[in-house]
Amino acid sequence: MANIEYLLLFLVGSAVISYFLTRLNSFIGSIFTIFATMFVFVSLAAYGFNMNLDTTVSLLPWFSFSQTYLGFFFVIIIAFIYLMVSFFHPYFLDKYPYKNSYNLLFLLSLAGIIGAFYTDHFLQLFFFFEMIIWTTMFLIPQGKSREAAVSYFGFSLTGSVALLIGIFVIYQNVGRFDIQAGLAGISGTTSVFVFVLFMIAALAKLGTFPLHIWLPLAHGNAPHPFSPVLSGALVKLGAFIGILALIKINPIGPVIGAIDLALGQYIIAFIGSLSIVFGTLMAIKEDDAKKLLAYSSMSHGGYILVAFSALNGFAFAGGLYHILAHALASAGAFMAIAAVARATGTTKMKELGGMIHKMPITYLAYLIAIISMAGIPPMGGFISKWLIFQAVIDRGMILIAVAVFFGSVGSFLYVFRPLAALFLGQEFREYKHVKEAPLLMLIPTFIIMGLNIYTGVIPKQIIDFINNIIGENTAFAPVVATTFTVTATYGTLNAGLIALIFGVGVAIAFIIFILMKKSRKVELMDTYTAANFVHDEHLLHYSVDFYAPLERMYEKQSHWMKKFYDALAHKVKEVGKLAKYLFMSNNIGVTLIWILVIIVLLIGVVAL
């Protein structure tokens, strides 16, 4: 079944089947969902890498598909995240008010994603985008908050609408909806216009500044197994649109001489860096682990934008690599948090502590994920960030570099918070009964751990695939890579060697450790507390307002954007009320006035 059309129909069919199976028994339905997702992922992986998928259509004649390396890159990542997450379903579904529809919408949205990346027609792209939005929009409120779904939907819809207007502008100029021809066919002011519209769509979907409000709301309040999909997979749709705009449309505008970069790209890079800074600062401040990771997604969205704006091979490769690395890292982190939330029922850091003693594997999964997220070797995030750094330095984008470095160091701060507050520290007595996640949930955890390391140690295959994308979509030089190394402007990175040496270092440390006298095991409560006996472990757990001195410095400013959007919604409502007052009056006289005004206006205008 290597035909895209069949895959789509299969997903839609199994979505319907899963609805009834879940109705029967949520476990059976979820297992079915796992197999359906797995089937799709395996089909894609088996045929897609070499572009061997069948794109002919017979049953859905109004669709047309074509396969590209770029599309496949996204599709395989997202399908993978879907597959991984589906393993969590059996243990979460029963908690949701409309569990029957959960698997249905989940599979439908996957169908939307596959369609979106394989279509070669703009309107179909929009069709699939909208389908993804509304199916996922109904998944989010099954979690904690309805407003989150509204916010997600509002911003996504804004993005789609900008995209659609852009599509129609292209259509007006080119006369067709073909994606490749359309993007190639525009120029001059039109292309600037389309660029802006597409970038609005990209920013909204990627959840970057200034369209980021939905991100923490949606990620933080979505059902626990759905947050990894949102962060690891769905926001990447924005990156895809971003590539179309920044790389493919790439309007000709004024060029900033010092860094040899078009103004449009520089502005996007600047927005990206604002996004990095704000995301980092907000993440440092956040108390909810999932919202914290959501803000980290915002900041990583900024990295992706910076990478694609820098317009060279390394940067482009770094951006794509970062998409992969961040998808894996954030999926891993969110899944670990989901496992904790399943066991304890909360994601608030101030309510948690010492989970490491009950859930060591989940802890390890989180640790590896955040190492990658913070861009520390030997994980995938390091390679991608390294490539992005190279590009930033190469271009000499100093102001952007400030943000990039700030975000990179800041990420140490925020990823460490859940680690310390959730997993480390004192073990709370209310969680004594907690057990490690069940085996089925550990399977994806292990797989993602392995892949996080794999992407950080053996970049060869990935870089090779990215080189295909570079060749397909750009005129950039491909990135040179051997099994373990990547070469960029300012030298070669030997990822494998770093991992090896790290291993050697740890081995040496371990030898030192093991050779010395064995330590005496003491309780966690048995600490240096200046001889005071503290009876309550909560009092010894430092996790509330972890970075209080730092947070205080930007406490006031941190609500600006939220206030802005609240004010915007309020203003729209005010306009609505005004309009109601003006047009929907209970007084007939008002209507009469309007009728007269219109008559006089028309007659007057025409007479003139």
Partner: protein, 301 residues
């Protein structure tokens, strides 16, 4: 490859020995300045070996695992460090970013272990350490960006070679503002006063270290010495033209460490938010100005 790894281990070991000795000597120097005798120069070796041989306590597996990971990460970082242009374990692969980020693995391990000890002082210390890091890293990285951009390589040996080429000055002279920022950042990295907020022995009971004793503390001491070695060497290679042979390296290393140590001894201690404000005010501004001047205007002395 085996040989390279052995060289690397040798460098790490050398770094440890070097810094421990120089650290001891500095304690002596500072003692003399304060009209004390000061300890013997090998006092730090004695402390470390004594600690390693003692029986300590453990607060659970993460407490031990974190220490191992921390020391392992630091040793690994040191193994990449070139001593001179020639003495380097892995030629071409001594990338600047490895030192910044591999060092972070060690820091992460230590932070993990400290938080895992369950002592709130330790967590506060970790918080302060990370916040300090956020403060000093960004100006430092901007200066590093300038250096990499100017010397056209991010390999430390290549940067050394660039400075040693005839006609090129050491970067501390070529980029004077950047050099100043480098010194300040180095003090932050080393946790010297006024940036020693995260240790603050009398205030938060030595912060991250509060729970440690025995071999764990011994290993953390080793870690500390090696990380100082890495940071000071990084400064020497980036700003002081590196070294063409081992003696020049030793001289430069000793000078840098001693000067920084002396400066720090006449300072008080910042509060943690003052640290952040300090670094984001002048050093960052200077670093950006330096980068503008060097990259866009091409004014490199």
């Amino acid at each position: 490859m085996i040989v390279n790894i052995l060289v690397g281990i040798g460098i790490a070991l050398f770094g440890f020995a070097l810094q421990t000795s120089i650290g001891g000597i500095n304690r002596k120097i500072v003692g003399r300045l304060q009209k004390r005798h000061g300890p013997r120069w090998y006092q730090e070796f004695i402390d470390i070996f004594k600690l390693l041989s003692k029986r300590g306590i453990s607060h659970g597996w993460i407490y031990d695992f974190g220490v191992i990971m921390a020391l392992g990460g630091i040793i690994a970082t040191a193994m990449f460090m070139p001593l001179t242009v020639d003495i380097v374990a892995f030629k071409q692969f001594d990338n600047f970013f490895i030192f910044v980020y591999l060092l972070a693995v060690g820091m992460l391990g230590m932070a993990m272990s400290a938080s895992g000890s369950g002592n709130p002082w330790a967590s506060i210390g970790v918080m302060r350490a990370l916040t300090t890091m956020l403060a000093y890293e960004v100006p430092f990285l901007i200066v590093a960006l300038t250096i990499i951009n100017v010397s056209d390589s991010s390999s430390l040996t290549a940067i050394q070679a660039f400075q040693q080429t005839a006609g090129n000055n050491w970067f501390i002279i070529a980029l004077p503002l950047g050099g100043l920022v480098g010194v300040l950042s180095l003090m932050g990295m080393l946790g010297k006063k006024p940036f020693e907020t995260y240790i603050a022995p009398a205030e938060i009971a030595s912060g991250p270290m509060v729970e440690y004793g025995g071999k764990q503390l011994g290993m953390l001491f080793i870690l500390h010495e090696i990380s100082v070695f890495i940071e000071v060497s990084l400064f020497v290679h980036l700003f002081l033209g590196g070294a063409s042979n081992i003696f020049i390296f030793l001289i430069k290393y000793f000078t840098v460490y001693t000067v920084v140590n002396l400066i720090s001894n006449v300072n008080g201690r910042f509060k943690i938010d003052q640290v952040v404000k300090f670094f984001y005010k002048w050093p960052l501004l200077l670093a950006i100005i330096q980068a503008f001047i060097a990259i866009y205007l091409g004014w490199v002395i």
